[in-house]
């Protein structure tokens, strides 16, 4: 969390009451959303309500043992994040305290309290290369220099968005820490690599544009059927164990974003550990560098204080916006937004606010839309273009999508990946239900797939959708009378649809090759199924019995394409074999 620098000294207060994460203080002179330090241990908190002389504070650390009468100290600044080089390859808690630094400072594997640390290392030096010269005019947001932050990412040092701008009168080049001045303007303003920004406030942009490029996920069912755009929003609701986290991890690994911000919001500790252990060893498919080089992790696990869980999504999206300002495509995953909503509910109920639906505060829907509105494809104030894509997991109680968090989220997001307990139970992964899910970006992204993959991408996909739809209808009949009672052509459709499900929709996240599937391969598997379909129906028309058609030994090989590295050759051979084996039948 930001070490407040522009502290305007205000009066300290006295604790009046303590109830879990909510503390009230008397005689505290603070503004709404100011950061305060609570009690003799100086626990970090944020002002969330002011009523007369009583200020209500949500505390980001455990409050056991804290008692009325202890002091509360104001900082005069709102909850902010530290921005600058050093955020990639980092892991933070919900208020941007680096967890590795905390471990060191606390000397323990357990999270103690009352320890603060800046979000970026203030002492470390970085090699600054200027991008402007003395005499240049610069405005808010302009890039004045770059720093090689990680092997994958050049960090752009920008004039702060709230600066007046001016003429560059001095500029440095070489190694500096983030607090040293690298640029001086004629107004006397000094620019450092370190900036701060209040987390609850969106960073300014020029305008939001219509996204036209897909965020390629390397997951067939997503790219193929329900693509999300760069700058788009998606929700993944599903009951426990249905695959939300694995899908989010897959996106964090394989999505073709420049930067990934992964927010573990109120979920398991081990899932964050898994990322910390895996990502440094995995290769970014675009740059070939370690995945961690483009990743910023925020971990506020379920057992960490609930107020910090409320703030962690804001911390994440502010960091995402900062990289967007540099002109990068950023993808943010929040797992799970339900835990964030529950944190709001918990704080709200301690405040004895009037509850809305299912005890959630009446402002739940407003908070969710404010958050997702911070996603988008933007023209930045420095003229670059950048995007923030937001993918939020939703954990509906009892797996029932009619609950408030799912419903309010669906009203905002444009991509809906519905996870299905039945599919998960039969280990059809990713268990994304193809009948219920949708992407409202599909049409606007089609030109990209036509230009960059195959011109007939939309038609082939439509064939796949129709086949799966027909299967769903036929299955209802099969449930009543059995498959053999169907006419031969329908039996054949069922068989083709089965291959679409098994060879195309299913994808094993834990298989070295299958885990990532480029769009070309996604197309070719779908097209291979269609090749079988077309040749099979020809054979059927020529009078070949359906059992013989489905019995050809080439067909089951469709299910093995996913795991082939040299899939082109494999598919070429397979398509030849399918066609010749069917041809032999008549």
């Amino acid at each position: 969390m930001s070490q407040a620098t522009d502290t305007d000294v205000r009066e300290d207060g006295i604790i009046e009451s303590v109830s879990g994460p909510v503390v009230t203080a008397r005689d505290l002179d603070a503004r709404m959303n100011d950061v305060v330090y609570v009690g003799s241990e100086g626990l970090m908190g944020e002002v969330i309500e002011i009523e007369g002389n009583i200020t209500t504070i949500q505390v980001y650390e455990e409050t056991s043992g804290v008692s009325p009468g202890e002091p509360v100290e104001g900082t005069g600044s709102p909850l902010s994040v530290d921005l600058g080089p050093g955020m990639l390859d980092a892991i933070y808690d919900g208020v941007q305290r680096p967890l590795d630094v905390l471990e060191e400072k606390m000397g323990s594997a357990f999270l103690d309290r009352g320890v603060d640390a800046p979000g970026i290392d203030l002492e470390k030096t970085w090699e600054f290369t200027p991008e402007v010269e003395e005499g240049d005019e610069v405005e808010a947001g302009d890039i004045v220099g770059t720093v090689p932050e990680t092997p994958s990412i050049d960090h752009k040092v920008m004039v702060p968005p709230d600066s007046e701008g001016g003429e560059v009168v001095a500029i440095e080049s070489g190694n500096f820490n983030v607090e040293e001045t690298v640029v001086e303007l004629d107004s006397g303003e000094e620019i450092q690599m370190h900036q701060e920004w209040p987390v609850r406030q969106q960073r300014p942009t020029v305008e939001k544009e219509t996204p036209t490029e897909p965020l390629i996920s390397g997951q067939r069912v997503l790219d193929g059927l329900f693509p999300i755009a760069k700058g788009g929003t998606a929700a993944i609701p599903g009951p426990f164990g249905s695959g939300k986290t694995v899908t989010q991890h897959q996106l964090a690994k394989w999505a073709d974003a420049d930067i990934v911000v992964y927010v573990g919001c109120g979920e398991r500790g081990n899932e964050m550990t898994e990322v910390i252990e895996d990502f440094p060893e995995l290769e970014d498919p675009t740059t070939g560098n370690a995945l961690m080089d483009r990743t910023c992790l925020i971990a506020n696990t379920s057992n960490m204080p609930v107020a910090a869980r409320e703030s962690c999504v804001y911390t994440g999206i502010t960091i995402a916006e900062y990289f967007r300002d540099m002109g990068y495509d950023v993808a943010l995953m929040a797992d799970s937004t339900s835990r964030w909503a529950e944190a709001m509910r918990e704080i709200s109920s301690r405040l004895e606010e009037m509850p809305g639906e299912e005890g959630y505060p009446a402002y739940l829907s407003a908070r969710l839309s404010e958050f997702y509105e911070r996603a988008g494809y933007f023209e930045n104030i420095n003229g670059t273009e950048g995007s923030v894509s937001v993918i939020g997991a939703v954990s509906p109680p009892g797996g029932d999508f009619s609950e408030p968090v799912t419903q309010n989220t669906l009203r905002i997001v444009k991509t809906f990946w519905a996870l299905d307990a039945d599919l998960a139970e039969r280990r059809h992964f990713p268990s994304i239900n193809w009948n219920e899910s949708y992407s409202l970006y599909r049409d606007q992204l089609d030109p990209w797939f036509e230009d960059n993959v195959r011109a007939d991408w939309p038609e082939t996909r439509q064939w796949a959708i129709d086949t799966l739809d027909e299967e769903a209808e036929l299955q209802e009949i099969v449930q009543l009378v059995g498959k053999d009672a169907l006419p031969e052509d329908q039996q054949l459709t069922l068989e083709i649809a089965r291959y679409l499900r098994e060879a195309w929709l299913q994808q094993n996240a834990f298989h070295d090759v299958d885990t990532f599937c480029e769009p070309e391969k996604t197309y070719r598997i779908m097209d291979a199924a269609k090749t079988y379909n077309d040749a099979a129906f020809e054979a059927l028309d020529a009078g070949v019995p359906v059992e013989e058609i489905t019995d050809i030994d080439a067909a089951p090989r469709l299910n093995r394409i996913g795991v082939q590295e040299d899939y082109n050759e494999y598919i070429d051979d397979l398509e030849d074999d399918i066609e010749s084996q069917l041809r032999e039948l008549y």
Binding site: G20, G269, I276, E346, P397, D484
Partner: protein
């Protein structure tokens, strides 16, 4: 220490006291009744002139003359290695008539969160000897894997079987005996009946497990509010043994449903806005603070593995107790009423069961190279067979294809041979996987599309299919 005789209100498990000096949130309180009896409680809310106290042993018999002492500290658990072999009540007082416990340390029972950065990802296979778990939903050291059961089902037998049989294969080879027993069981009972408690105690005594166990007993007729601290005492002890004394600790907590009922009772007494079905809105957070106290820590030898047991009200897994649990734990094992009535022991339904840490805990060098594929294929085949059972009731076996009939046979044999092993049999992972191949070989080779072709060549039993066709 200041004493107050200023109780203003007594309501359910709560007592409100006027105070004139500040009291710490969560601090421990002693209440002395007029007859000299002392009860303990905890501060739930602290304001400058009053506090709300939750009384562990219940408020029955407390009147406004009772005196209240604030101990100025949060609840602590005295921990020492000597706790092994001891039996305590639900508040941590020894009830076995043994010697006084001389603590090595007194630890806060709330426990601090493990820094996610300091965790080590659990991936060490625990062989429970139960095929439905080892083969299909593998448990690893440091995992939290609850048993989702319901009243009248043999979940306790399964928990005991696991506690008895659990080993880590490579340790077996190295012969862990010379290092002394480094495996410990912590048993935290919440609101279970005396018979159930006896079942556990008898088994511990019979197998000699008691000497490496620590038992905390809150029985059905013990105060409900006390149940909210029992698991915390158990887990504090577990963390101490695991991370200070290098034990691999298995924590069995039963029955989490009773724990949640106690939370609900307290919430209602505080007139909180209830969440789903009357349970507190913070139940997720509260449960997470228990379940997340499982795991491994970088640089420490020991581990805490949790096996919580819960009985699903109305066999309904969308009920908030199993639902929130499932959202926190790393999978779950379902005990199934139908399988139980068919006499299958343990009656584990593998389809909805899940171990999320399985993928990194199995495979070459850990279990066996074919493990993942075999598991995937069995799941697929069993699910297929299960589906067909509905259909066969309508159309009869004759209307089904030959392959479909094989799937039906597969599902039957899977339940009868793979799952049903009895509570006294321990199978090695090799035996489990070989059994898996015996069953899979009923199906034609090209139906095994989840298994690598080389593995099929290596393990497929060529004659099984022939046999099945003849039969």
């Amino acid at each position: 220490m200041k004493e107050y005789q200023t109780i203003t209100e007594i309501s359910g498990p709560l007592v409100f006291v006027e105070t004139d000096e500040p009291v710490g949130y969560d601090d421990i309180v002693e209440i002395e009744l007029s007859d000299g009896e002392t009860r303990r409680g905890q501060v739930l809310e602290s304001a400058s002139d009053y506090v709300a106290i939750q009384v562990f042993e219940g408020t029955e018999g407390i009147d406004r003359d009772a005196s209240v002492r604030f101990l100025g500290e949060t609840m602590k658990m005295p921990v020492t290695e000597d706790l092994l072999g001891r039996v305590m009540d639900g508040t941590g007082q020894p009830i076995d008539g043994g010697p006084e416990i001389v603590p090595d340390e007194r630890r806060d029972i709330v426990g601090e969160a493990i820094n996610p950065f300091s965790r080590e990802y659990p991936e060490e296979f625990i062989q429970t000897g139960v095929s439905a778990i080892d083969g299909m939903n593998t448990l690893v050291r440091g995992q939290k894997l609850p048993i989702f059961s319901a009243s009248g089902l043999p979940h306790n037998d399964l928990a005991l079987q696991i506690a008895r049989q659990a080993t880590v294969p490579e340790e077996e080879e190295a012969g862990d005996d010379d290092e002394g027993s480094e495996f410990a069981v912590i048993f935290g009972a919440m609101g279970i009946t005396a018979e159930e408690a006896n079942e556990f105690m008898d088994d511990f005594e019979r197998t000699g497990a008691l000497e490496r166990s620590v038992v905390f007993m809150n029985l059905a007729d013990d105060p409900a509010v006390e149940r909210t601290i029992t698991p915390r005492l158990a887990l504090t002890t577990a963390e101490y043994l695991a991370f200070e004394k290098d034990y691999h600790v298995l924590v069995i907590l039963t029955d989490m449903t009773n724990y949640c009922e106690a939370l609900r009772e307290i919430g209602a007494a505080r007139e909180e806005v209830p969440g789903r079905r009357g349970y507190p809105g913070y139940m997720y957070t509260d449960l997470a603070q228990l379940y997340e106290r499982a795991g491994r820590i970088e640089g420490r030898e020991g581990s805490v593995t949790q096996l919580p047991i819960l009985t699903m009200p109305g066999d309904d897994d969308t009920h908030p107790i199993p639902d929130l649990t499932g959202y926190i734990t790393e999978g779950q094992i379902y005990i199934d009423r139908d399988l139980n009535s068919q006499g299958i022991q343990p009656p584990i339904n593998v389809l909805p069961s899940l171990s999320r840490l399985m993928d990194d805990g199995i495979g070459e060098g850990l279990t066996r190279a074919d493990h993942a594929d075999v598991k995937d294929q069995i799941f697929a085949a069993y699910a297929e067979g299960e589906d067909l059972r509905d259909l066969v009731n309508i159309v009869g076996r004759e209307a089904l294809s030959e392959l479909d009939n094989k799937y039906l046979d597969f599902a039957d044999r899977f339940e009868e041979e793979f799952v049903d092993q009895g509570t006294d049999t321990a199978r090695s992972i090799d035996e489990t996987l070989e059994l898996g191949w015996d069953l899979l070989s009923m199906l034609p080779k090209d139906a095994l599309n989840r298994i690598d072709e080389d593995l099929i060549e290596e393990h497929y039993r060529e004659d099984e299919t022939a046999e099945a066709v003849e039969a």
